[in-house]
Subunit: 535 residues, 2 copies
């Protein structure tokens, strides 16, 4: 006998289906399951006979989710339906965020699911350009659904055998892409690029001053870290958290494209040494957050070798370009790094979160972090306990971030990621070519962008004739926030803006969603002009 | 017209269904979607007309997952199908973990999904007792599926308006349960208890020595942290990472039940001060990992007040008991803590990961961690930017851990969590009563356990007459690992073991899965005896 799982809108449809199937000649009563609900929470598993209501409930949720997915890719859907915090807190048409002592009905839970999505932001929408992470990869999504169903933890092979091995193989593959011999080395998936960068600082310190682990920072001289003024703030955050102090995070000057000037690094190393400080660590950014700039890794590596410093490459955003034969030259020299941050959840479209810290030297991650907790990492297990990776991490429990990435890699192959990346970079070049000489636009820096970041000012007609000076600067500074606010209110598209150094607010366009097309780029520009024309 | 979504096993079933529906009198061709696949990856969204293959693919994945869920709750299913790392790496019947340049077919992807689950561990199985986190809550699971579909990031209200508000309201509710006046204070969900504990040390340091943020640890005197010898290793890890040094993490003695002896804390504070060190921070554990012990918070708080130290309560495991009117007295005094770690992913059955760091003083989290990155936290947005919580975190991007928890709280109500917790504690008392006087068992400590942890040795008949001494110790030390290995090979159940201090390997039983029943406890005991009888 065959089971049918039928989902239709209402009871009338159920009766229709059932009568058609039986009238049609079906001689047994098929198992039909309909997606309107009657059961209560207590009827779900682990309740006895909880299977059917459980499957019904989950399929109803899936119906909500698949509808959301379909609409997200539909350009007639808004990117968001903006409400202020006080509006959502006051409650929207029966959507009440408050928690109570008493349970809600499953029907209300489904309403809550729908409303949560309704008032959220569609980060997978082809016109959402607001963040480095965007898109909604269907394979990755399926991977996340499986991951949460498996509901396990990365700390031991014992309870995550498959995921632990997938992590090892995938990290090795990433190290091969970096160019470390035979993909040797070590690594971990961590909860985001900031934590990956923090790892790099920790292991650099452990490499040169292992006694800090037991004796604290007072066992080391005054240690200095170097990173570009355009680099991600997580290096500074790591400096604060790990006890270096932000004053010992020296910011390096950049050229007009936001790339570190190697001579400035060398001068600042010499200066620190003259003051009696000990230079420890240099971060080179591969794909800066705002400009998408790639620091010249080879030149920086030369200096690091000369002065015996740890070289970290923060490729959280730009690491993905290693998958592209056309663009990987921008990270030339990365194989000389001691450690690399690389976030597949950014340029490679893997669902959040998925960030790797990769280390060239084997064993140093464990050396730095292990505490050998007996209750978790028993040495007398029946399997090879070198697969218990938990003690390398600063976390104890660690979320399974690998499976969705592994599954996407399986489904796309390396060449699929390459196509994705090449396509996004082509799109951003299309945008650059479109606006570089267009009336009403000024580029923040000259030349074809290195990554998908295109940084520009939109100059409303009222400012176009105005002489450069403070008044124009002040007015221009307010243009991007105003356009962005109107954009969010109308919900049509989203793009980021920020000031940088002495530059007033400008738009930073980025593309990482392969669903975006040239027409979406055109739409963004039309929308900026529509909303900004009369400012 | 009504759409039917039909899922049946094969093409024959499709033809059958279609013919029945049309023979039965249906005059339009219904939209039938069958769960065997033909489309390719490139037919999925964002492909043009990608909707149907996308929904088909996702529903096929859901079919795999719902079958997995059903089987997980079925006691005739094995908890795991154990294989050694080399076996899985060599490839199991077409399950190949290696990644390649070329894409796989969607059919293979589905096979990979099935195999990933097949060779994993069913942490939701009613006989999986191996970890503090267990179970598979259906509402929580639905919440995770929605979270991954929304695929957004907690750092700004801008892209996670609903989730940011849910986090605020839920944290407030948790602070109310702790007993802080009006639920005031601050907090964040973080990637696990170890990171939450690390936050507590960071903010304690910032409170007393804010200049460390800019100047580093050299700006502070030698700072000392105190925690029990039974506490979680993450306090020591935080000491290492943050630059205190593990030697400055002083371990406190405990009574025979694993609870801190307050007089030992005071003596060690005085000793540290006499040496010229500065006591900074005390961690009191509410529910220790192995014994499930609750440190006497009120007595520790008295000492912290006397010496002006930061009091942190690590309630990662025991915090859930705050939801139970019967058991919350075990955390009496927690309202006097400066900060609290509380992991709903442990005792409350929320899917991994879900850990909160809660802080009594408002503003200090942001003071400690903020770096004011202009590109993310623009002050000139159109909404109230105090809702942009990202700069409080040491992470930049932060996974949405709140929704599943919020949804479970909605669905169960506070009283649902209370019932869950009371039930698990009752079960562990059942186990305790069953074995405390049973032949062949010795309890590791006397008396009714405070939490669900029941710690015991199983003494095989061959050791029962043996005099206490080194030989017996050595033999007994090998019993639990041997039984555990056989348990994993047979796949029937899983329970943890470890040594502790001078105690040889013993079993640590814990219950956090509401699917478990007395019969599962009986099964565990039978299984230990079956496997261990002839050792």
């Amino acid at each position: 006998e065959t089971d049918f799982w039928c989902f239709c809108q209402d009871e009338a449809a159920e009766r229709l289906a059932l009568s058609l199937l039986t009238k049609g000649g079906l001689h047994y009563r098929p198992r039909l399951n309909f997606y309107y609900l009657s059961p209560h929470l207590l009827d779900l598993l682990p309740a006895k006979n909880g299977e059917e209501p459980t499957i019904q409930f989950l399929l109803e949720v899936v119906d909500i989710l698949t509808n959301y997915v379909k609409k997200t890719f539909d350009r007639s859907t808004k990117v968001l339906d903006f409400h202020h915090p006080h509006q959502l807190l006051e409650g929207m048409e029966g959507f009440n965020l408050e928690l109570s002592d008493q349970p809600e009905s499953l029907e209300q839970i489904l309403v809550d699911c729908r409303d949560t999505l309704k008032y959220g932001v569609r980060t997978g929408h082809p016109r959402f350009f607001n963040q480095l992470s965007s898109g909604l990869d269907i394979i990755g999504l399926a991977g996340e659904w499986l991951t949460s169903t498996a509901n396990t933890n990365m700390f031991t092979y014992e309870i995550a055998p498959v995921f632990v091995l997938m992590e090892q193989l995938t990290l090795k593959k990433m190290r091969e892409m970096i160019g470390w011999p035979s993909g040797e080395g070590d690594g971990l998936f961590s909860p985001g690029g900031a934590i990956s960068n923090m790892y790099s600082v920790m292991i650099a310190r452990y490499k040169y001053f292992p006694e800090v682990k037991t004796k604290g920072m007072s066992a080391a001289p005054r240690l200095v870290l170097f990173t570009s003024e355009h680099s991600h703030y997580s290096i500074k955050k790591a400096g604060a958290a790990l006890g270096f102090g932000t004053e010992n995070v020296i910011l390096l000057s950049t050229d007009e494209r936001g790339r570190v000037i190697p001579a400035d690094l060398e001068a600042k190393i010499i200066d620190a040494k003259q003051k009696g400080y000990v230079p420890l660590f240099v971060n080179a950014t591969a794909g800066s957050t705002v400009y998408g700039a790639f620091d010249p890794i080879n030149e920086i590596a030369d200096i690091c070798e000369k002065y015996n410093l740890w070289l970290h490459v923060d490729g959280a955003w730009g690491g993905g370009l290693l998958m592209s034969r056309k663009h990987r030259h921008k990270l030339s020299g990365i194989e000389r790094a001691n450690s690399v941050t690389w976030n597949p959840h950014k340029m490679m479209g893997v669902p959040l979160q998925c960030s790797a810290i990769l280390v060239r030297e084997k064993g140093i991650l464990a050396g730095c972090n292990s505490m050998c907790a007996g209750y978790l990492f028993q040495p007398d297990k029946q399997y090879d306990v070198t697969y218990d990776t938990g003690d390398k991490a600063i976390q104890c429990g660690r979320h399974v971030d690998i499976f969705k990435f592994w599954l996407m890699w399986k489904a796309k192959g390396t060449i699929g990621f390459e196509q994705h990346i090449d396509k996004c970079l082509d799109l951003s070049q299309y945008l650059y070519n479109k606006i570089k000489n267009r009336e009403g636009y000024e580029m923040v820096f000259d030349g074809v962008p290195q990554h998908t970041n295109v940084c520009f000012w939109y100059i409303p007609p009222s400012l176009r004739g105005m002489p450069h000076g403070d008044e124009r600067r002040e007015k221009l500074h307010r243009v991007a926030p105003k356009i962005k606010a109107m954009m969010m209110e109308s919900g049509t598209t989203m793009v980021g803006y920020q000031p940088q150094g002495n530059k007033v607010n400008f738009f930073r366009m980025v593309v990482s969603n392969p669903a975006a097309t040239q027409s979406d780029i055109d739409f963004l520009i039309d929308e900026i002009e529509r909303l900004g024309h009369d400012l």
